[in-house]
Subunit: 287 residues, 4 copies
Amino acid sequence: MTDAGASAIFLIRCADRKGIVARVAGFIHDAGGNILDSNHHTDRLSGTFLMRIEFALDGFGIPRRDIAAAFAPVAKMFGMWYEVHFSDDRPRVGVLVSRQDHCLADLLQRQRRGEMKIEIPVILSNHDACAMWADLFKIPFHVLPVTGDTKREQERQVLGILKQQRVELIVLARYMQILSAGFLAEAGCPVINIHHSFLPAFSGAHPYRQAYERGVKIVGATAHYATEELDEGPIIEQDVIRVGHRDTEEDLIRKGRDLEEIVLARAVRKHVERRVLVYGRKTVVFE
Amino acid sequence: MTDAGASAIFLIRCADRKGIVARVAGFIHDAGGNILDSNHHTDRLSGTFLMRIEFALDGFGIPRRDIAAAFAPVAKMFGMWYEVHFSDDRPRVGVLVSRQDHCLADLLQRQRRGEMKIEIPVILSNHDACAMWADLFKIPFHVLPVTGDTKREQERQVLGILKQQRVELIVLARYMQILSAGFLAEAGCPVINIHHSFLPAFSGAHPYRQAYERGVKIVGATAHYATEELDEGPIIEQDVIRVGHRDTEEDLIRKGRDLEEIVLARAVRKHVERRVLVYGRKTVVFE
Amino acid sequence: MTDAGASAIFLIRCADRKGIVARVAGFIHDAGGNILDSNHHTDRLSGTFLMRIEFALDGFGIPRRDIAAAFAPVAKMFGMWYEVHFSDDRPRVGVLVSRQDHCLADLLQRQRRGEMKIEIPVILSNHDACAMWADLFKIPFHVLPVTGDTKREQERQVLGILKQQRVELIVLARYMQILSAGFLAEAGCPVINIHHSFLPAFSGAHPYRQAYERGVKIVGATAHYATEELDEGPIIEQDVIRVGHRDTEEDLIRKGRDLEEIVLARAVRKHVERRVLVYGRKTVVFE
Amino acid sequence: MTDAGASAIFLIRCADRKGIVARVAGFIHDAGGNILDSNHHTDRLSGTFLMRIEFALDGFGIPRRDIAAAFAPVAKMFGMWYEVHFSDDRPRVGVLVSRQDHCLADLLQRQRRGEMKIEIPVILSNHDACAMWADLFKIPFHVLPVTGDTKREQERQVLGILKQQRVELIVLARYMQILSAGFLAEAGCPVINIHHSFLPAFSGAHPYRQAYERGVKIVGATAHYATEELDEGPIIEQDVIRVGHRDTEEDLIRKGRDLEEIVLARAVRKHVERRVLVYGRKTVVFE
C-alpha cells in the first residue's frame, strides 16, 4: 500500500498530565510527519486525557508497520492506552439484521457511494427478509434462525462466521435479538447498536409504543456501543424529530426509521474515521 | 366589552360519535357566527373526540354571557365536556419562582411585548432573589420561605394569595418545590411546570447532572401540566439542544436555560390561546 | 372498489365568505357522512379561504362517482375551485432522474414499505445510471438522453410516455435538466422538484458550492412545485442541517443527500395525502 | 492579576506549512505551559492554516505581558498573523440598539449571570426606548438620534464615545441603522451584527416580510461580522425555526426574536472566548 495521500491516526487515552500534547506532537514532528488534525479533551471529573491526532504519512520517516512500536516508549512514559489507524484502512464490518431492512439498505448504499470507507464481507440475520439486499450488493448472507432454546448455539455460529471473516466492527442494524454477555466478550471488536428511542428515555422493548402512550412531543434514536447492560452502553450519536397528537404509533415508527438510518450511519462513520473514544460510560466524539 | 374583532373559542371533549362537527358548526352558523378556525382530533384508541373551534363574535346573535348556556343542549346530546373562552380574555396568571429568574424575566418581557395576552397580578417565591423583576414590572411580590416543617402552612398561604388574586393559571417558572397533591387539588386551576429535561428521561432531581453523567448528545426541556405524580403530567411542549463532550454540567445548565424559557413560553402561550386539551395522560395541541 | 374504511377528501379554495365551513359540513352531514378531519385556513391578505375536509364513505349516501357533481351547487354558491379525492386512491407517479440515485432509491423503498400510497408505473432518465433500481423494483425504465439540440424532442418523448402511463404526478428526483415552460404546460399534472438548498438562498446551479464559498453554518433542501420561473415555485417543505468549517463541498453534498431524500419524501407524501393547496406563490400544508 | 487558574489563548493564521503545530506546541512546552485545548484547521482551497491553542498560565515561565513578544520569532518564521488573549480578560463591549430591546435585554442578563465574560461600559441608541434596561443594570446610556442629514455627525459622536470607553467589540443588537464604511474603518475593533434572516436569503430590509411573501417553511437568523458590503460579512452563527401557513408576518417576527437573541448571544460568546477566526469571507469557529 502506497502512502501517497494517506495519513496515520493516533487515538490516545491516559491519566491527565502536563506535556502530553507537546510530547506527542514532538514524536510526530521529529519523524518528519505533518500534523493534519489534532484534537484532545480532558475530562476534569475523572482526570482523563483523550486525544486524536492525524498526520500525513508522506515524508514520515517510520514505516507504517513500525509506527506503533516506535511510539511505545512515549506511551509508556504516560501510561497511555493507544491505537494507530490509517486513513486508507477499510475496516471489515459485519452487519446483523432481523426483518426490517431500512438500516441495512442505507448502510449498503452509503458504502457503495463512498460515504463510508468500509468493507462489508458478510450479513447475518435470524430471518431471510433482507436477502434481496445481499443479492443486490453481492454480499454473502447467512440466515441463522434463533429461538430461546437455540440462542447459545446460534450465537456461537454467528461468532464463528464473523471471526472467519476477520470482522473488526459489528453493526446491529435493527437486529432484534439481545446479545449475551458471552457473545460481546467473545466478539473481540466493538459492537454498535441503534436503539429506536432517545435513550435513556424508553429503554427496553417497544419504545415507539411507550412514546406514543406517554404523549411526548419529540421522539429520537440513539446509536451506542453495545455492552452487557442493555441500552446502557456509551452513546455515540442521537437525533430527534418532532411528533404530534395526530401521529399514531405507526407514524412514530415511520418517522423513526429516517432517524434510525441517519443516526446509525453517523455513528458508524465516526467510528471508522476513528473519531470516537470511550471512557467509562461515555464517549468523546471528535468532529 | 365590545365584540368588534373578538372571537369565541369552544373547547370540546366527548366520546366519538357521528355528526359532532356538523352539529357544532351548525349551532354556530345558525346563530350567525363566522367560523375562523376549526380543528378536531379523534383518538382512535380511546375513542375520544377533541375539538377547538373559533368563530367571530361580530354578528353572532347570542350575547357572550349566554353562549355557554345556549350550547348546553348540544353538549348534552353528545355528553360533552366543554369550555367557552373569548379571544380578548386576558387570563390572570400567578407565577411561582425560586432563586433562578430567567423564566420569570422571560415571561414578563413577553407579556409586556404583547406576545402573551395575560395579566400577571402576583409573583410568589420562597426566596427574595427575583424581587428586582417584580419591581421593574410593578407586580406585587410575596416571599414565603418554606422548610420541611412549614410546607403545609406555606402552601396554604400561597393558595390564599392566588385565590385572592382570582388566578386562572399557575405557572411554575423554575419553582424548585414539589407541590403537594392537596395543593394541586385546592388550586382549582391548571398548573404548568417546566422540567429541565427531555421527559421521561432524567425525571427527578438534578436532570442536567444525570444527563452529563450518562453522556447524552442532546438535552431537552419539557413543559407539562403538574399532577400528583411528579414529572408524569400531560406534556404540552418539548424541545432539545445538541451537546457534546466539551460541555460540562454548567454548560448543560447554561444551554438548558434557553430551552426552559422558550419551552415554557410556548406552553403558556398555547394554553392561554386555548389550543391545549388534556385527555388521560396526554394532550392535544391544536396549532 | 369497496368503501369500507375508505374516506373522501375535499380540497376547496375560494374567496373568503361567511358560512363556508357550516355549509360544507352540512353537505357532508346531510348525506350521512362522518367528518374525520377538517382543516381550513384563511389568508387574510389575499382574502383566500382554503379547506381540506375528510369524511368516511361508510354510510355516505352518495356514490363515489357522483360526489363531485352533487357538490357542484355548493361550490357554485361560493365560487369555489374544488377537488374530490379518495383515501384509497393510489396516484400514478412518474419519476424523472439523472445520474444520482439516492432520491429515487428512497422513494422506491418508501413505496414498497407502504409509507406512500402511490403507483410508480415508469421511471425516465437522461442517463442509464439508475437502471439497477428499476430492475430491482421491476419498474419500466426509459433512457432518453438529452442535449441542447434535442431538448425539445426529448421533452416531447418524455411527455408522450408520461401521458401514455396516465401519470397524475411527476417527481423530479434530482433530474438535472431544466424543464421548459412548454413541458410544464403540457404535463397537465403537478410537478414536484427537490432543490438542494434552502431556497431562496442559493438558487440556480451548484448550491452546495455557493454555500461552501459563502461560509454558511447551515445548509438546506427545498421541495417545491415546479413552475416556469426556475426555483420560484410554491414551497411545500424545507429542512436544514448544521455544517461547519471542517465540511468541504463534498461533505455538504453528502450531508445534503439525506436532507434531499427526506424533504422530497415528505413533500410527495403530503401531496398524495392531499394535504397541500397552492395559492399564489405559496402553499398551505394541512398536517 | 494573578495567573492562578487563568490560561492564555493564541489565535494564529498563516499560509499552511509543515511543522507549525509541533513548533507552536514546542514553544509552549519549553516555557513550562500545559496545553489545555488545541484546535487547528487547514482550508485546502486557499492553503490557509488557522489555529487556536490554549494553555495554563500556572507554571508558565514567561510573564503575561511578554508572551506576545516572546512568540514573535516563531510567528516570523511562518509569516503568522497572531493574537494573544487571556481567559480572565473581560473585553469591553459597546452595544448599539434602536427601538427593539430583546437582544439588549438578553445580553445584559447573560452578562449578569456570568454566561459572558464581558464588561458593557456603554449602550448607545438612536432612540430612548431601551433606557429602562440601562437603568436596571446601571450602565451609561446615550441617545444619539440620527437622520439622513446628521448621519455622518452622529456616527462621529458614536465613535467618540466608543473610543473614550476603550471598547474592544461593538455589538449591533438590532441597531436598525446601516453603518458607513468610514465608521467600520474608524472603529478599530470587530463589529458583530444580528440579521433577522437566514443569510444569504432575504438580505436587505424587512426579511420577515420577504419570508412571509415567499412562503418559506423555515425562517432563520444570522450573526456576522459587519463589513462594508451590507449582509455580506463573515458568518459566525446561524439558526432556524420552522414556520407554517398559519404564521403571519407578526408571528414570524415573534418567533424570530427568540432566534435573534440566541444566535447573537452565541456569536458574542464565541467571539469573546476567542473561538472565531476570520479568513476571506468566512469564519472558522472552534468549539
